[in-house]
Symmetry: C2
Subunit: 360 residues, 2 copies
């Protein structure tokens, strides 16, 4: 069948041009006579890919030189433990803003190694908003302060980044990295799984201020100690080479298409198309507080579970797929990452209009 | 240029038929309208790939039902910590046979969490042999006994598996998994990075007896606790989906080509071709004790570093690439995994003969 519009929350749609390029050079990469998958990670050809991937990410995100960029494995879930193991070594207290499933998992791992202070939570309303932050509730000598910039499941995002002063700010940016312009200087650690805006699953990126590296606890597994890969240029052991190659192709595509500033403009336009329709619809309803709405993940409901199921099924017949909401929320969710073209969102809105006429 | 014969130690050559199949379905997989890289890991299409990969591995290796097969990330280097975190919880002592760089790294991680007893070591001769094991040196109540079945860098392998009685036997099989028939019942934990005989780098396989899972220490990061992925069918978080898909294609290729028994016969034939030539050569010399020679990694030298370098360079011109030995050993190393055709080894031997005539 033809390519569909895939609204999956991650792994997620990738630019078709990137996939075609990867397919064309899968068996033989340039003049190497072999696939990127077969290359020694110590070879010149792979080393060029590895370094270019890092350089492009630095350029796209404007990452200052006093930050390491680590290309890791294990997913954000591994970093949920690595963060406290590397940072929870002073007061032993970490501050968290609890905004959903991913902060919950990060909190559980921090508690394994120290004390957690929940500064604010939106659990009372199924995480449908970003809570106000009261600076009086910040721990004065916390080892770090942790947020999830975009909450994939609930469709919320921080529209302003908290100022934590001297306390290192750690951000899980898995589902909105590269989607809007951030001042990296406001963060001390950024972590992100690759499978939304970066490439296929299997790569985890950690951007960390250099002076925060080297203080890990003695019990830290060597591969979870940021120092291990920082000192080895992410080549301490065999990296997920092919994922890094795919990420490089995506980074090249982002650069060709105007970089993050242009992506942000496109993402705002795509999200507005969808939210504007939802806000006037008599059948569909966005579930998130308008101020805190994600540009990447747009959950919505009809209020009738059977109708939701029918919508998802009929949308699938139109080539609009993976619109089912997360099991903890129900309803629908359209994930519209960088690689989702505006035409995909337009087609979705058109289909929602048709469906509404038939069912309101 | 045409496809080369790639003797890299890992990432390593893959079957050309597998690469061609992957290329053909990279942009659109079957009737899904999307790439495997873009599929939700909770989708039916991906779930089928995931389950087939595990089922094929179980079939190929004849893995009994009382073992979990875990599809993980992080490389064997992550498992070097996971093994003690999961198992070093009784006497706190682990027995090791020290046969090279990889046992060294595993020992370092075990020491982080307990006590290590080196049962035997071949460090005295740059690990060019597998040491004899004296059962009197085994720790009676060790929490586990650790070996590396094949040593990629030094080209040695265990030709008989130690009988450790009730003590769990842990084997790092990264560089010879699927290359010869093993009785899985002799092992309690098998770990292997994917990048030699399984597929591209980024997948780590752990085969573990079910009753050894669930005893991890409290300080174990959630992702290093085998229980986490055992209970979730390796879908606790997003797995390295594309690597798993590639592994599945390799497993299918292995099955089509007669399975592990046939691979072992081919590997023995390929290795013998090379060792027979080396043993009669007046220029080249195999570095490993004949009894302990690897079927996968064949190190050799001329004894003259300049001549070694010339050989590597001229071999490269003939499309025989990545023959340089590991930096800790020098000389040459031909890695001849399952996917290296006999024709590649024949061409290498022919070229060695020519080179010998010119330089002896």
């Amino acid at each position: 069948m033809a390519r569909v519009y895939n609204f999956a929350a991650g792994p997620a749609t990738l630019p078709e041009a990137v996939l075609k390029k990867a397919a064309a050079e899968l068996v033989e990469y340039q003049d190497t006579g072999m696939s990127v998958m077969e290359m020694s990670h110590r070879s010149k050809a792979y080393d060029a890919i590895h370094k270019q991937a890092e350089a492009l990410l630095r350029e796209l995100m404007n990452i200052p030189d006093d930050y390491y960029v680590l290309l890791l494995q294990g997913g954000a879930s591994t970093q949920f433990s690595a963060v406290p193991l590397n940072l929870l070594n002073g007061s032993g207290i970490a501050d968290f803003v609890h905004t959903g499933n991913w902060s919950k998992k990060a909190i559980a791992e921090a508690k394994r190694y120290g004390q957690v202070n929940i500064v604010a939570s939106s659990e009372d309303k199924t995480f449908a908003y970003i809570p106000e932050l009261d600076e009086n509730k910040f721990t004065e000598n916390a080892d770090y302060f942790y947020i999830v910039t975009n909450n994939t499941i609930y469709g919320t995002r921080f529209t302003s980044i908290p100022d934590t002063g001297n306390i290192p700010l750690v951000a899980d940016m898995s589902s909105n990295i590269l989607s809007e312009v951030y001042d990296i200087g406001k963060f001390d650690v950024i972590l992100a799984g690759s499978q939304k805006n970066i490439g296929p699953a299997g790569l985890t990126i950690v951007i960390v201020r250099k002076d925060l590296v080297g203080q890990a606890r003695e019990i830290t597994p060597v591969m979870l100690n940021w120092k291990t890969q920082a000192e080895a240029g992410s080549l301490y052991n065999t990296p997920p080479c092919y994922c890094i190659y795919m990420a490089k192709l995506v980074f090249e595509w982002l650069k060709e298409h105007g970089g993050i500033k242009e992506m942000q403009a496109r993402n705002e336009e795509k999200a507005q198309l969808l939210y504007d329709f939802l806000d006037q619809s008599e059948l569909f309803k966005a579930t998130v507080n308008p101020r805190d709405r994600s540009l990447m993940n747009v959950p919505f409901v009809t209020g009738d579970a059977d109708l939701d199921a029918l919508f998802i099924s009929e949308a699938g017949d139109q080539g609009l797929v993976t619109l089912k909401g997360h099991r903890s929320v129900g309803g629908m969710r359209a994930s519209i990452y960088n690689a989702m073209p505006k035409a995909g969102v337009e087609k979705l809105v058109e289909f929602m209009k048709t469906f509404e006429r038939q069912h309101k």
